[in-house]
Amino acid sequence: MAKESFDKEIQFLRLLALTGGGYDRQQFAGRLGISVHTFDKTVRKLREISGDADFADLFRYGYADSAEPVLLFLYRAKSMKESESRRLPLILTALKGTPQTAAELLDACCERLPLDAAMPDEKTIRSDLRYLEEIGVVRREPGGRPYRYVLNNDLTDCLSQKELIDLYEFVDIMANTQIPSVQGYLLRDNLKKALKSAVPEEEWDDGLLEPFSYKYHYDARILDEAHLYTLLRTIHLRKRISFQYFSPKNRKSYSAKETNPLFGRETEVRRESTLPLKVVYDHQYGRWYLIGAAAKGRFVKFRMEGMIDIAEEQEAPDEYFALKKQQLDEQMRHSWLIDTGETVTVRAKFYRPRGQADFIAERVRLQGQWGQIVEENEDFFIYEIQVNGVTEIRPWLRGFGSSCEVLAPADLRQSFIDEWKEIGDYYE
């Protein structure tokens, strides 16, 4: 059976998160490169997983007030046989606290499964245990055959109630403020359950579950973590990859496989191939990039959201990988984001606000990366940075509006003048 892929779902959720659900079905389907029928099926499936009645509301109003990651449910989409989803809870419940053998677990299952359910055999139980052990959920107890297994919840079992609350709050903060976060959010969900069983009912307070809120989050950022580990692993193993790439400039972000020749598409999506060297997360937009070396050694950059159907290819020689990695690190030393072009010196004059705290200087210090303040007085300061090209730093400088005057390079200065004129004309 083909590996279950969630590319279609990811692309749909990204569109949804970015547009706030403003498109109609036809528009969504068109942009995803699928039929309206397939689109409806996708939505039905996601709705079932999320338990949420209305997707359009998912991204409205709640965004500032909740630490709940609205898109996490995507990671609960892996399908499972009905019989398995009934059997595994019985096994896991039996393994809580008391070590059990496969035979004992079989008895427990047979006892508790409804009479009309298909009864598992010992082989099925063994394969369940193998799976649970592999993902670290259960642990085999020391000792010979027959092996005994127990639920591995040491992480929470070893903590006092206060420590558990501290851990929950720490995980909440780190999952929300650090990258990557999917595993942190999943752990957070499990710690919620741990809290519920550790705190006596009369002391329970729902406020325990949402200790903090986080403002100005990029919801869609966690969607790209779907491919993150695949890519990080190929970097680790120095493996080349091939994949289908939809450039963000392309209106379509997915396209159905040609299973039916009648519906063969006119434009063929090219398969790209590269040796992955580095994954970059851009905080400015909340987007992910993969940077790799192309066949002739040139550096190539891909937006991770456009990459689907990733396949591992052969390994690259050690020295070659190390050389490319070193060259890339060197070239990216002055990248505001990922530009590996020529380094230029940008100088800008920032005007301090009058009669109030200097939030301009504070923002420059906070966001100005490795740039330096080279001259200052009580009215203004001059910031200088060596950066690869001006394209990536430009929006940041422009964000300061009339508190920032670009001094050099001259062409950047001129382009600011031209652009402010143009913007001014929009509002005449």
């Binding site: 919840n153 692993r233 109030q356 422009r398």
Partner: protein, 312 residues
């Protein structure tokens, strides 16, 4: 193997497990936690004893190894992830009690201690900083104070009734009025749509696409305090977008362009009086007056050259 699409995370399974109170912890979650325990913030959030206990349980280290291949760019300096006041304020919040709080102003002046009720702790992903939203019991107003400006917080007893009354009052005040604005993507930049939408993705919004005109319009909803950040994003995107509805934003953008051009000595506007990011809000009505002033003050070419000269 770190596969975030693991069968064990399946929604049917997790809802069935929910009823039993049993939960499962996978290696990848422990591995993630291990990499987070290496972060300096761990030592501020957790007791050394707790960290030691947790480290015993998180021996898997695949994620930490893999994370070498990940680099973050254009982020703010992480000056503060865990603040020492989080824990005492959380305790007051959990106990549903009042507090006596003493703060400094933005300019550093020390205020008298005030009685109040903590309402919520919020982290700004932009400023990378914690804020306390609280209700001031003596002035009956709400405040947003950066934790770094709080000098001291002590729990103070209030009766359950008084606590609830004040919380209801605070809640009403915190339900800030919301503004609406419509931002249009200039059609020649349609190809950059995803970039533009990403920039707005942290706001409450709805995108509409006009098939006939091939034009995207972003309907934004935001509070007063978010307005400043909306403006920053609009300037950030520059000529790619135009505010088509929302007088205040239009006015501010017009002013930004005018004052920015004045910096470069273009169109002869007066020297900068107030900076753009000035948080004081000028009245809508004054826009026209300022525009008139702008056109009457043309500077000569020599002046422009003088201003264009790069100092030092």
């Amino acid at each position: 193997m770190n596969n975030p699409f693991e069968k064990i995370f399946n929604y049917q399974l997790s809802s069935r497990l929910e009823e039993t109170g049993v939960y499962t912890l996978t290696s990848q979650e422990r591995s993630w936690l291990k990499s987070m325990l290496e972060h300096p913030a761990a030592h501020e959030a957790l007791e050394p004893r707790t960290i030691a206990k947790l480290q015993e349980c998180v021996l898997d280290d695949e994620i930490s190894n893999l994370l070498d291949g990940l680099e973050q760019k254009a982020g703010s300096l992480e000056t503060q992830i865990v603040h020492p006041l989080l824990s005492p304020i959380r305790r007051i919040l959990r106990n549903r009690q009042g507090m006596t709080i003493q703060c400094r102003t933005k300019k550093g002046k020390l205020n008298e201690p005030q009685p109040g009720i903590p309402y919520k702790l919020e982290y700004s992903m932009v400023k990378r900083e914690w804020y306390l939203h609280w209700y001031n019991s003596s002035t009956r107003s709400i405040l947003h104070t950066r934790l770094c400006h709080i000098v001291s917080v002590e729990q103070s007893r209030v009766s359950r009734t008084s606590y609830e009354e004040q919380t209801v009052r605070a809640q009403k005040l915190f339900e800030a009025p919301r503004h609406e604005a419509v931002v249009e993507v200039i059609r020649t930049f349609n190809a950059e749509l995803t970039r533009i939408l990403h920039a707005f993705s942290c706001f409450d919004k709805k995108v509409e696409f006009d098939e006939e005109e091939r034009t995207y319009r972003i309907h934004l909803t935001f509070t007063d305090s978010e307005g400043q950040f909306v403006l920053t994003k609009l300037r950030f995107l520059g000529k790619r977008v135009r505010v088509v509805e929302g007088n205040y934003l239009k006015y501010r953008m017009r002013e930004t362009a005018r004052k920015a051009l004045a910096l470069y000595g273009v169109e002869g506007a007066n020297a900068v009086e107030t900076s753009d990011s000035d948080q004081s809000k000028a009245a809508e009505g004054s826009a026209d007056a300022q525009k008139a002033e702008q056109s009457s003050n043309s500077k000569n070419a020599a002046d422009i050259i003088a201003r264009t000269k790069i100092p030092g």
